[in-house]
Amino acid sequence: MTSTTPNPPPTSGFLPAYSQQQRVTQARVMRSEWTKLRTQPAAFWSLLSAVILVVGFGIGYSLLRVARPPHGAAAVASFDPAAVSLSGVQLAQIAVGVLGVLLITSEYATGLIRTTFAAVPRRLPVLWGKAALVATTVTAVSVPAAFAAFLVGQSILGHQHLAVPLSQPGVVRAVIGSAMYLAVIGLIGLGLGALVRNAAGGIAALFGLLYGLPLAAGFLPGNWAADVSKYLPANAGQAVTTVQPDPTQLQPWTGFGAACLYAAVLLGISAARMRRGDA
């Protein structure tokens, strides 16, 4: 991510020569956002807690299940060893969601956003830069974390002959999908943060979206509860993290696609609001 690419020529023939060197480009804004991220301790701690939650909770839940293995043919058939070892994702999603929220709301809280927007008057490169960074950093730490949780979890479950190998169909997809799901939750957090522009509000909205909506959907009458539930962001996105087909969930990639759509819509609305208006 260096700015060695030649800058495009000025759009107006009127601009002086210096603007060639000091033009704002998407790549430069990305670099600026990277500098901010690596010098913001909250970002480091959220990523670290995501890793600890994915690995730690995955191991913990695997230990629990090996102590209380499934009984009966039906329970054994529906047992999903991969999902057990990846269950930490359920908690880690809060850590990465909060990362997304804080990355943008911290700038609004301090007023730094005005300095940022004065330097990048088109504004949207800032949002896209943050989004790209959330997606890449969360994926970069979550892929190894998910593999570690899976491998350690399976070695634990293996004691009761419950383990599945990576070579089994759908397992690699579930492991990598867990990391990708976390990246999408990070983007949803960023979108929420950019919309409400306030850390407490953004985190509350995140909890509402991930935990509140599924609860509320449970109160819907009859088949509605199940029909609506599977399209909610968390349920839809987590379809990609399981190996055993689950009738209450969407198909893995359909679900993941739906979660991506939520993130895209949130980011799109916040982009529209960010571009206009006062900072």
Binding site: P10, Q22, R28, T39, A42, T110, T116
Partner: protein
């Protein structure tokens, strides 16, 4: 060069700035004066392109601020010195800003040294005193070596040494041919630094003049005299264009006549002059008088 033309800015039902028109020229320090709440910060946000005028146009170096391809080179601003991430160091704060425009890392060190923060460069900006935060804000404004520098209350909270440093810095920038626009709610902070003056109150333009002209026309000199016969002297001095007033302590204050002439009139009438002095109304008094009707928040007395 900053050109403000018929700019009005409303936030909901509140009009912060109404029909403002003025020009800030390069090569001099222009002071931007007004009581708190007069619309100074709103105007500066529009100059930096972070707020949009409701109507009218703001041009910086010949273009609307948000259309510059290399904004840090065109407009450097400080709106709020505390607008930094508290756990980020001064160096990293400036580095992140520099990255947006491909400004090299050595320039970051340059501006840090220029504002005298060299020793604190790697300390968390959240721990800075207000004076240090002001310096960091100035460093950020100067990062792209911009043609136009806009600073909101840069002297606020500085100690004597800091104020002296700031004055020198502002004059240097103007000397380099830059447009320097500096706001304050205190006349005394601006009087010794600015050569041009924009005064606003309640979002409206009150004065757009040079400091010298402002002193001459808006802050006229008065002559204060005490003599053995105030009544007679007062009558003798009476003339068209001259006003004579008796102060509470028994002295006469005369406007419209130089001290020498007052002395000569007294001498010719055989009146002994006990005290004779030329007084300039304090700029602060003039400023307060000028903006009195335009103060939004005034304590009820």
């Amino acid at each position: 060069m900053i050109e403000i033309r018929a700019v009005t800015k409303s936030y909901g039902a509140t009009t912060a700035v109404s029909d403002l028109t003025f020009t800030v020229r390069p090569g001099v320090v222009t002071g931007f004066l007004g009581p708190n709440g007069a619309g100074k910060s709103t105007t500066m946000r529009m100059i930096l392109g972070v707020d949009q005028p409701s109507s009218g146009s703001v041009m910086v170096n010949g273009r609307p601020p948000r259309t510059h391809a290399a904004p840090l080179h065109e407009i450097g601003g400080m709106l709020d010195p505390r607008a930094v991430h508290p756990s980020r160091s001064a160096h990293n704060h400036l580095l992140a800003l520099a990255r947006t425009s491909g400004i090299r890392r050595s320039r970051v060190d340059e501006v840090i040294d220029a504002v005298g923060l060299g020793a604190a460069a790697n300390r968390r900006a959240g721990k800075f005193s207000l004076g240090m935060s002001q310096r960091l804000g100035i460093a950020a404004a100067l990062l792209g070596d911009p043609a136009t520098v806009v600073l909101d209350e840069p002297v606020n909270g500085l100690d004597v040494e800091g104020i002296r440093w700031m004055r020198g810095m502002l004059r240097d920038l103007a000397g380099q041919g830059k447009t320097v626009f500096v706001s304050s709610h205190l006349m005394s902070e601006i009087a010794q630094t600015a050569t041009q003056l924009i005064v606003i109150g309640r979002g409206k333009l009150i004065a757009d003049t040079s400091m010298a002209q402002f002193m001459a026309t808006v802050a006229p000199t008065t002559v204060r005299v005490r003599s053995s016969d105030q009544d007679t002297l007062g009558r003798l001095l009476h003339a068209p264009g001259v006003t004579v007033a008796l102060t509470a302590d028994g002295a006469l204050t005369i406007t419209g006549l130089p001290a020498a002439q007052v002395g000569a009139v007294a001498g010719a009438a055989g009146i002994t002059v006990l005290e004779l002095a030329t007084e300039q109304a304090s700029l602060e008094d003039v400023f307060v008088g000028l903006t009195q009707d335009a103060v939004d928040y005034r304590a009820a007395i």
